[in-house]
Symmetry: C2
Subunit: 249 residues, 2 copies
């Protein structure tokens, strides 16, 4: 049986906060065990890492002003999104999908303006600079404080091209097989499997999303117990399809 | 806390089997409660509904032969995929992505050749004709046999354009809010939420996927308990983005 428990007691996280310590304090009462997984939202990681930007400090350039007019968004937000991105994938009124420098293809380069905390009314929250590294740091901090090695996932909610609604995916991970390759394995009848790679990182992030909610009831961290996963460590960066395999630019 | 339990004891399912009865027998020992969710794989639903096709009964047409040469796939499989689809979205060597008549955009129109059971070596398994209706029928059958009204999801594994690996999504559902619209709701700080629709059906399918596995250890059904969901019934068809909102044809 797999169990998904919300982690309560995490207050507002601010720049410079020791997120590893805060998480350890909150997770401790759940008596975490080896192979348990902790899923944390991108938001609290970004906040702790000081990725909040006050919009009145942003001066949009020519390109951002032009794109902002086309997509009907705040030019300062668009400036930030373009600065975080390597290319625009789609720009339509109210839609700006870019390829983040990390390779992640997502709306507004993953920049967030909701639920970023009181006192940040006119702010934007950027993605962590290197979410896999952030996850590894959290894993080390939790191991130091709790004396147990946990799998870590940093999750964010993504839209999808052909499906409505958002789902949670893994943008950072440590200690888990974010992507598991079954190439060459056979099915129960001895046939080579057609489905060759399982996106475990995203499955776990989505499972955790069920216990997180959005908006007023937001829970920024979840403990997952009982997942039987292949014993390998594959970073979330492996979930990003490479440019040369992208049929949908 | 959310609990995800594999449902054991479901043997090979064949055309004409009473899947509702089989599921009820297997789920009964888990003492299902109101608001529990049952996630079943598309494969066993398709099998019970007789959607297995022997490839030697398929005569590929001119178009299928032409596409099969381009994508390097069995022309009989391509014939079936095209017959199930309204358009080809991408065709490349070893890749055939189509829009299924239901609107689902997926590889090979969702046709499966692995894990379709012994004695079906040269067969293909098509999607259920109307997965939301299949889910509603299963819900009714389980209520009849178990005297409890459960949410039902029929799941399948899908690839994604910009991410490696497959995840489980909901292609059919009954008694759950497959898609939940939060438009106009505010976040904890009173700002209008940017993320306005949550794909609960897909989140639940992915969570269940963690307990299903692929290949030899395949588990075709899972019971999910403890999900707090909005009290509304939205079919999985609502998860399919409409053609006029598709930016990635």
């Amino acid at each position: 049986m797999i169990e998904i428990r919300p982690v309560s007691g995490i207050g507002e996280v601010e720049a410079g906060d020791d997120l590893g310590f805060i998480l350890a304090q909150a997770i401790g009462p759940l008596s975490p065990e080896t192979n348990d997984l902790v899923v944390v939202t991108q938001k609290i990681v970004s906040k702790a890492e000081g990725r909040m930007v006050a919009l009145d400090t942003v001066t949009p350039g020519e390109k951002a002003i032009e794109v902002a007019a086309a997509v009907k968004k705040d030019p300062r937000l668009v400036e930030l999104a373009l600065a975080e991105s390597s290319e625009i994938v789609r720009a339509r009124p109210h839609v700006l999908i870019t390829r983040h420098k990390s390779g992640l293809v997502m709306a507004n380069a993953g920049i967030d303006c909701s639920n970023i905390g009181p006192g940040h009314a006119d702010c934007a929250l950027l993605l962590p600079v290197d979410p896999d590294r952030s996850a590894a740091r959290l894993q080390a901090a939790l191991e130091e404080h709790l004396r147990v090695r946990l799998g870590i996932i940093i999750s964010d909610s993504f839209g999808r091209p052909w499906r409505n609604g958002v789902v949670n995916v893994a943008i950072g991970a440590a200690g888990i097989p974010s992507l598991h390759d079954k190439r060459g394995m056979t099915d129960r009848d001895g046939r080579i499997l057609q489905v060759t790679q399982i996106a475990y990182g995203d499955l776990i992030a989505s499972a955790a999303g069920l216990a997180m909610g959005e908006g007023a009831e937001g829970i920024p961290a979840v403990l997952v117990r009982g997942c039987v996963l292949p014993q390998e460590e594959i970073p979330a960066a492996s979930l990003v399809r490479s440019l040369d395999e992208d049929l949908f630019r």
